[in-house]
């Protein structure tokens, strides 16, 4: 039995901002969904099923908000499935939707992920109460900073690498009209002089807290043939999970991330990711995760990731552009951030990324992670239909 090839024919995002006080949660998700349908030249009636994802329900204070959002997303009378896999959820949600098409359960599926973080305080939403966690661990940065420090010790990377990533991503964001942070007057010196938040992570090396939604329309070969714009084809997709804490866990380069990438590359027939992949949208919520993931995803040998960053290879005009959209460092509606990575990878191979388009991108990787660096979701999309 062969799988149906899956094509991305519609992509929509909201303009990500700190607080969308002008719309309800329903208004926010509908805006992204409507734009994805418009991109695909489809109507609500063309959608067979809706797959929706977001991070913890406490962020908006609504339990299982998909129930209330059924009307806004045109899901009444249709299947609607809600995915929650921590920070990787935007990617996982897209993969669950893609499987519905691949398994020929449905022909055309709307998938959407969102977060309206202004409804609450995300940092404290992520800080688990006693008895679940020691009380001084504030926010995700408090969890990840020691692992960044471990990477620096392990590789001998200079202290300034993180600031290079932050400066690059924030400049890329200036070319992306949907990015949250548009800091036109930011300089590398300002990044390096910004306040230390969680040593060694400075304020300008962290992601913002955003309101935003991202939607995609996925369809089969027949749907792709009717699409008004070039589709992106899914060449491989996978999820991997490992426990939060255990003796022997490598927080710097988790095995689940390596396994997930290997699975995706195998499906897509990629043997040399650095040369065969033209653009990467990876989940970098703190600047140092770019060199760390470059190694974890097989783009660099162990200990060498920071050298690729330092050399300028990951710049928009470099040999391996990473986060041409500005990435999570410029836009972070948490539940949507993974789907934005997947969608931005698809925009690149469709040639529809606008000012942040990577010239001639034919294959791109979308990457998401979550929890205690334990949940991974990735897909590889191409401009051509998959060969097998």
């Amino acid at each position: 039995m062969t799988k149906e090839p899956v094509a991305v024919v519609g992509i929509g995002q909201t303009k990500h901002v700190a607080a969308r006080r002008d719309v309800s949660i329903a208004g926010l998700v509908r805006e992204a969904a409507r734009r994805a349908l418009d991109d695909a030249h489809l109507a609500w009636a063309d959608i067979d099923a809706v797959v929706i994802g977001k991070a913890p329900d406490f962020f908006e204070g609504v339990m299982m908000p998909e129930l209330y959002l059924a009307d806004a997303l045109g899901a009444v009378g249709k299947p609607m499935l809600r995915v929650h896999t921590a920070g990787s959820v935007g990617g996982s949600t897209a993969l669950v939707a893609a499987n519905l098409v691949a398994a020929r359960v449905h022909r055309t599926v709307l998938t959407l992920a969102f977060e309206k973080q202004s409804e609450s305080n995300a940092m404290w939403g992520l800080s688990l109460p006693i008895p679940f966690q020691q009380p001084l661990l504030a926010g995700a940065g408090g969890f990840f900073a020691p692992h960044v420090r471990a990477y620096m010790r392990r590789t001998g990377a200079p202290d300034t690498i993180g600031s290079l990533v932050a400066y690059k991503d924030r400049r890329n964001a200036l070319k992306n009209p949907y990015a949250h942070l548009h800091e036109a007057d930011l300089t590398l010196e300002k990044v390096q002089a910004s306040p230390m938040l969680w040593d060694p992570i400075r304020y300008s090396e962290t992601c913002p807290s955003s309101d935003g939604a991202c939607a995609m329309v996925l369809t089969d070969r027949t749907g792709a043939a009717r699409a008004p714009h070039p589709p992106a084809w899914v060449h491989g997709g996978a999820m991997r999970s490992e426990p939060t804490l255990f003796a022997g866990k490598d927080f710097v380069s988790p095995q689940a991330g390596k396994d997930c990438a290997a699975d995706v590359y195998h499906q897509a027939g990629i043997t040399d990711p650095r040369r065969e992949i033209d653009a990467v949208e990876m989940y970098v919520p703190f600047s140092w995760y770019e060199p760390m993931w470059l190694e974890n995803l097989g783009f660099a040998d162990e200990g060498e990731g920071w050298k690729l960053t330092e050399s300028g290879l990951t710049e928009l005009d470099g040999g391996l552009p990473v986060n041409p959209s500005g990435g999570v460092l410029s836009t972070n509606p948490i539940g949507a951030s993974g789907m934005i990575r997947f969608a931005e990878a698809a925009l690149q191979v469709r040639g529809r990324a606008g000012e942040h388009q990577v010239d001639g991108a034919r294959r791109a990787l979308g990457h998401a992670y979550g929890g205690g660096a334990q949940f991974f979701a990735m897909w590889l999309v191409g401009a051509e239909p998959p060969a097998r």
Partner: protein
Amino acid sequence: MTREIREIAVVAFAQTGHRRTSEELSEVEMLMPVLHDVLARTGLKAGDIGFTCSGSSDYLAGRAFSFTMALDGVGAWPPISESHVETDGAWALYEAWVKLLTGEAETALVYAYGKTSPGDVREVLTRQLDPYYVAPLWPDSVALAALQARALIDAGLTDERELAAIAARSRTAAAANPHAQLRGATPPGDPLVAPLRTGDCPPIGDGAAAVVLAAGDTARRLCDRPAWIRGLDHRIEAHSLGVRDLTDSPSTRLAAERAGAFELPVDTAELHAPFTSQEVVLRRALKLDLPGAEEVRINPSGGALAANPVMAAGLIRLGEAAARIQRGESDRALAHATSGPCLQQNLVAVLEGDAQ
């Protein structure tokens, strides 16, 4: 659309003894014996499983990312292919079924758990409602079910005697179910929210359940009589109660049609109806009240009226139906799960055993 459906079956089912409180156990401690039990029934180890998917709710656990603790209990090392839905485990089974349909996995472990005892579940479930117009009024789950029951009575579709009979039948059936929380007939009780009496409402309790799915010959190897999933579909309705006919469940009927439930008669129906009145709605939508359907055994497990661990109770319906097929007590069974206020979202599965 014509397509060749891959043969996929439920090959094992396990559940806790559901209890009013499990305050001495964490969610993980409650779940672990069930995972060990369901894997032991197949001889598989966690590392043999191709895909794992779970269903649970942070709002019941009272913390964000509560499912990650359960994953630690699964023993996800070396790393596993895994996902999670923030709803009843029946939808986790649906996601796993789709994964198996793609051919990317041969087996799947599905689990779900919920502890409703630590909080006030009626109040907690109000947080599911439209956050702008309805949730601020805090209408609780029993009050909303009572609205639905009143609509049914006013429409002449049921009466309090019939509702009491459903409660009595369910709990009498549960006497034979060692996992049930309320076993044996209970009195109708006092009015809780008119017209519903305590007997019309589900018990508050904690529990977990797990299922193993397998494809084709793997299923035949793991199980003497696999419960083949002949059809599986789910549908959602509008959220606003004001635009719905609460006496009907068009989403259940449509899911059943798509699952092929009406193509041949079933002998068993496990319905996820936490309130007696909701069984009336579901029986009508599933045509179980029509002439000829008198022989269908409805909720031989006792259903959600006998044990209602929220987030697991729907998956348990699928598990109970499959277990009856495996025991040779059913040849073709319908299983149903619901989510949301007043049966907003519904899932229907049709399970069959090979000829005996």
